[in-house]
Amino acid sequence: MVAYKLTISKRVLKIILLLIIPWVFVVFLAPFYNTAEPYFAGWPFLYWYLLIWIFIQPVFTFIVFKYIDKEKW
């Protein structure tokens, strides 16, 4: 029984893309993104920053799916 295992470097990359990046940019940087300036289309930074992260993170997750886990769609 041989389980499909990732190499160490791929595993680290996976942890960075799935855990470290969202934890840092979406959660722990909160004191820095909690500002009104710069506005975009009348939206304060806090709101459009969190809005674009709703779409950025799935891109990273997809990269893991396609290029690290090499899953077929």
Binding site: V2, L18, L19, F28, A30, N34, T35, L46, F65
Partner: protein, 512 residues
Amino acid sequence: MFSNIDYALFFLLVITVIVVSFLGAKWRKADFSKISEWSIGGRKFGTLIIWFLMGGDIYTAYSLISIPGGSYGLGGFILYAVVYGTMSYPFLYYVAPRLYLIAKKRGMITGGDYVKERFESPILALLVALTGILAMLPYIALQIVGIQYVLQAMSFPVDESYVIAFLIVAAFTIVAGLRGPALGAIIKDVIIWSVIIIIFVVLFIQFNGFSTVFAKMSVEHLNFLIPPKLMIGYITLGFGNGIAWLLFPNLLTGIFSSKDAKTLKKNYIFLPVYQIWLLFLAIFGLIALTENLVPNKVSSLAFPMLVTAYFPPTFVIIVFAAIIIGSMIPAAIQSLSAANLITRNIYLEFFNKKASEKRQVLVARVFVFIMILASLVFALTPAASGLIFYLLTMSYAWLLQTLPAIILSLYWPKLDKFSVAAGWVVGITFTTYGLFTVNFSSSLLPWLGYSYVGIVGLALNLITLFVVHAIVRISNVKYKSGIKPAEFVDFDSAEPGIKEWRPDDFGKSKEL
């Protein structure tokens, strides 16, 4: 305010969801003499069903009411709900396939089943199961109370409507198992998606892309940012909830019902789209605030009042139908997952070890009814309905204390049951004590910089775990794991390139 045609439309939508949920029993050759067929739909849901099911479970009537209410009352603080969703999905992508695959291989139905086999400890499984059951009870009761205003606005008798609506929920869950809410969730989400998008587009145009809302808030010095005083609370709540989703019995039920791990992974790429609801809902709450739409500042009325102010009655009643449906489907999944825990980790383990699968299905069906009944009693007794919110803040923080048992144990083969149990006791004791110090009024502790009680509890839980584990190792206490480290895998197939998961790769999957 509503015409007879409006009411007809309302009943048409609600009844459609109910009928479809009942029809779940006939869907995909259900054989209800098997517990896994009834409780997790036979582990064969594909990508689209899982998307609707999980979305239907996570984004409930409670979010429709509490997120606008939150931004109405506290400004940007409520955005922590957006944050923990964004962080939860990639976290689930990392951890959920591992738990899912071991559960599939061993025929596990609940988180308790996993803990029991991993630590060979029915007692530890019982602790995890009790934590889960206790968390589901106020959660279901909250779905019931959440529709109160909507019922009043339609001049329905509130208490009688609660009882009728949730006995129907119990009925279709008992008849169809998870297939019921899974099918119902499709209609529920189609309705709520349409409603939210329509409201968004109309208000987006009305308020000039919401720029006038934010402009008015700055002029009137209203806070749409996160109050700096609550920053630690925001971060710890976001992080604490962001790592807790795998511990929720209702979400675990959805995860276990997937047909393979790849289906889950695809969903963690596409489920985050639901998050835009939360952001939109937060903005809706700000509009209710700037336009002064809410009488007596009752924040839970922000969303219904906003809709009533800007839309014709026919649309308002569709939104109300969406709220009612949005409370029924999640309540079905929650009561079912609690019933699974009671059946598998209490009844089967401690009362009737030889219960046949048929018997287990019967017991689980009885407990769905009991869970709904208990939640109704909670919701209907005035003394108890105040208690719901206490229990809810407590139960979330409590659930987080099962993280070592369910998640840490996936990655740490040497983890023993003694240290996990000791950590659990310390975590539960601290969170309960912490909530007492604030009279259960909030889950943030003012005497610790407003940090989230669950995260502080988890930190103490982990410290205890490491200390006790060191003692266990030094003193050579014997402990076992029912699962070999090599059995934990992250991929459906044993080798890359093999598409199908083959039971033979691991030996025949054991039917329990």
